[in-house]
Amino acid sequence: MSDTPTNLHYRLRVNGVERDVADAWLGESLLHVLRERLGLPGAKGACEQGECGSCSVLVDGTLVCSCLVLAASAVDREITTVEGLGPDGALTDVQQAFLDEGAVQCGFCTPGLIVAVHDLLDANPRPSDLEVREALSGNICRCTGYGRIIAAVHTAADRRGGA
């Protein structure tokens, strides 16, 4: 794309690994760079406005919508995506609970929800029903009606409490 300046070079630390971003355009969102340049398509784009939560990732431990973050502004930050949650490809407890409770249908919102639930349970291991609903109110799911998702959060919390 020679019409626009794509001469930007920078490094991002994603899931514990330093990654080079070369020949980039400054206007690219973190979501675009993760998906199109770094081969990490787990974060999904569904609204481009920070409304649906499908693109949720952690930047320095803070849950953000990666569609609203300029990739170049995340230099020197610790970025964690859904691909980086489980050790060596194994399922996390939250991922397992989603499967056990039938919380997955089309699955498009799922990675964003998984990141959001990890963020919730890491901060609040025993959330009330209302706390779960509030924490996940920024993640839209069009398939499930949320019932199985909320059940999965409680199941994951119960299992953590029992461990």
């Binding site: 990490l40 997955v104 699955g107 199985r148």
Partner: protein
């Protein structure tokens, strides 16, 4: 959360029918590695983008694309002049242009497309295309279309279909008469996984392979091939990961454009809509105005229903004629009624096109007939539950089309079981006045002292599968070798879970544990559409039939070995057993070692009929019934609403996968709740005013209440 037992039925082998078998696509979906159509990538790939009309109705004076060609990185620019085959497409009538020629009929109609090296280059290229329009007076009022008050906006005219139903005695009257006019807004499917596809051209442009998220691969292929001027076998479709559908992927959106760009450039091309474009790029639920007048005896028994439906189909026909028929034939709801006079219109306007969305016309009818039942209850001095029980349809009752409901019709049971479910424990206005529990939530100012609680009922009948004489079938293939079954079908998995059900069926029928699935593609025959509540029945029926045919072959093979009649053999667990000598048994894995049985079956439901001019005919195949009870808190001063609980009993037949059924029930309720209290595409002068998730409000975790099933 719910009273349903979501654990597997005890005593069943894991993974068979009746268990909560796990989704095979579950692990990649929770880990983010499942490949949705938006995730596709090919080496040397270009991006495609669409230029759309800014006007709801205009004459195209000229299109100048030279500016786009001058931008470095742009590889091709196409318009209506470049369509190699048929210039139009459509599901029922082919009335929609691939690209607008001479006129545009809705805001957002495709006018041109580009392929370039980066999405940003595409955006700039579209901005550099100069289209000169002569803006015309748009037709945006459905009643004007019916009255003939506007010149035809399309060669096919402004009325897409008119259907009348006259049943029983049209002059009958009742002691009690209630009437009302009900308006239903335009709803968007708002599937999360936006439209996307990747096209790979064959060398020399002889054909094309398209990876796409859709509901019906073969129907897409038929329309694409027609517009590309290619034989169907030169257009190969493979289903890519589909992030929901809900009717919004039944029509073509970017399919032909992506293939054209790819064939023109000889390179892989990916198109992916953003959310705003998606709102313009697919059809919506028909907005409707429904007038109904119910006549009943003093005791509240229905005597006659009069109704008039006006459904705005927007600029192109899509499935409007079928949606209309679904609406008018469900006028009575799940209630017996001997007489009816109904007029229904689906019309063409310069509003956004409308077509399939979950419920497909029945939702509009249901909103009206349930409003009427409440009015009738009040007029007769009856409780809303009592009036519904009094009129509840039973097996054998006639629809107003003259068709008997010859399947199970447990309307009364659905209502009674719903009524017996516990009411919410949450006090009116929420626990401790927590603002999150108040109508309007934190952002509003509901006062707990002004909150009142109400209870509402919604009971419905919904047809299953395709109607009106459509040759509706599904194809499936089963291959058994060495104890492993491999299934192939073109059934679009859009999230509903057929990839879970199909192996469950194979495990049950064949007594195998290992079931593999081939990719869903046009390599095998059509499975029909993933819509109309049909795939579990239709593709499930095809998988079942294919597995049974393989089982027959396996029985013949084993029976020949044993020297017995194959009819004596049955599958028990993972063994084949001689039912006349049960000690004689062999494991299916062993019996199928070294042999291959491979069968393909087309499964059809019973034929249906067209409606005659009076709307009479056996046009539907089968029906399902549901009852809902909604408990709602309302701030009576501000009008803010909070749904506290929804209880439901639904006639789902045998639950092949109870957890999956529960997910469908809860998900359907959330979409219905959205339509009822939150969602509406606001259209002004043919323009969508809220084409974003900031302005088109979808139910979140704080909007969807506890669901008791």
């Amino acid at each position: 959360m719910t009273t349903v037992d979501t654990s597997a039925r005890t005593g069943l082998r894991p993974g068979v029918i009746g268990t909560n078998a796990a989704r095979p696509d579950g692990p990649p979906k929770v880990q983010g590695t499942f490949v949705f159509s938006n995730d596709l990538h090919a080496d040397g790939m270009l991006w495609g983008a669409t230029l759309r009309s800014p006007h709801p109705r205009a004459r195209i004076v000229s299109i100048d694309v030279t500016g786009a060609w001058q931008i470095a990185g742009v590889e091709t620019v196409i318009t209506a002049d470049d369509v190699p085959g048929a210039p139009t497409y459509g599901l029922i009538s082919q009335d929609q242009p691939v690209f607008a020629r001479e006129v545009v009929r809705y805001r957002g109609e495709p006018v041109a497309a580009v392929a370039a090296d980066h999405p940003e280059t595409c955006r700039r290229a579209l901005a550099a295309i100069v289209v000169t329009y002569e803006v015309l007076d748009p037709l945006t009022d459905a009643e004007v279309a019916i009255a003939g008050g506007h010149e035809p906006i399309h060669p096919d005219g402004n009325v897409i279909r008119h259907q009348r139903i006259v049943h029983g005695d049209p002059a009958a009257t009742g002691a009690v008469v209630v009437e009302g006019t009900y308006e239903i807004g335009m709803q968007d499917q708002a599937f999360l996984g936006l439209e996307a596809a990747l096209a790979l051209p064959d060398p020399g442009g002889a054909g094309v392979e398209l990876y796409v998220a859709t509901q019906w691969l073969h129907e897409d292929r038929k329309q694409i091939a027609h517009c590309l001027g290619l034989p169907e076998d030169k257009v190969r479709l493979v289903l890519s990961g589909t992030g929901g559908a809900f009717g919004g992927r039944e029509d073509i959106s970017l399919q032909v454009h992506t293939c054209m760009l790819s064939l023109r450039t000889g390179r892989p091309v990916k198109m992916a809509y953003g959310r705003e474009e998606s709102f313009y790029g697919h059809v919506h639920r028909h907005p409707a105005t429904v007038w109904m007048r119910h006549h009943a005896t003093a005791e509240g028994r229905l005597v006659k229903i009069e109704a008039r439906f006006v459904m705005d189909g927007g600029a192109y026909a899509s499935t409007s004629s079928a949606v209309l028929i679904n609406a008018v034939t469900h006028t009575q709801g799940p209630y017996a009624c001997p007489n009816a006079v109904v007029d229904g219109y689906a019309v063409r306007t310069n509003n956004p096109p409308c077509g399939a969305m979950r419920g497909f016309g029945v939702v509009q009818a249901c909103f009206a007939h349930e409003g009427q039942m409440d009015k009738l209850a009040a007029a007769c001095g009856l409780d809303p539950v009592a009036i519904r029980l009094r009129n509840a349809m039973r097996t054998g009752d006639l629809l107003i089309t003259g068709q008997p409901v010859d399947s199970v019709a447990p309307v009364e049971r659905c209502i009674r079981e719903t009524a017996a479910l516990p009411m919410p424990t949450e006090p009116v206005g929420g626990f401790d006045g927590d603002v999150l529990r108040l109508p309007g939530g934190t952002g509003r100012t509901a006062d707990a002292r002004h909150v009142r609680r109400g209870v509402g009922w919604g009971v419905a009948i919904k047809n299953l599968m395709y109607s009106e004489g459509f040759d509706d079938y599904a194809t499936a293939r089963c291959r058994l070798a060495d104890g492993v079954a491999t299934l192939e079908f073109a059934t679009a998995e859009v999230g509903q879970g057929f990839v879970t059900l199909a192996p469950q069926i194979a495990r049950t029928v064949l007594g195998v544990d290992d079931v593999l699935l081939e990719p869903m593609s046009t390599r095998i025959g059509s499975a029909g559409s993933t819509s109309a509540s049909r795939q579990t029945w239709m593709s499930g029926g095809a998988v079942d039939a294919a597995c049974r045919k393989v089982r027959e072959r396996l029985f013949e093979h084993v029976a020949a070995d044993w020297g017995v009649d194959p009819l004596r053999l049955v599958v028990e667990g993972t063994d084949i057993v001689d039912s006349m000598a049960v000690e004689r048994r062999v494991a299916v894995a062993e019996a199928s070692a070294g042999v291959v049985f491979d069968e393909t079956v087309e499964y059809r439901h019973r034929p249906t009929e067209d409606l005659d001019e009076n709307g009479q005919g056996h046009c539907h195949v089968a029906f399902a019934f549901v009852a809902h009870r909604a408990v709602v808190d309302v701030d009576v001063e501000l009008g803010l609403v909070k749904v506290v609980q929804i209880a439901t009993a639904q006639d789902v037949g045998v639950a092949l996968n109870p957890l999956s059924v529960l997910g469908q029930v809860e998900g359907g309720i959330a979409q219905g709740l959205g339509l009822a209290v939150m969602e509406e595409l606001v259209i002004t002068d043919g323009r969508i005013r809220n084409a974003s998730f900031t302005d088109y409000l979808l139910p979140t975790t704080l909007d969807v209440p506890e669901v008791v099933v």
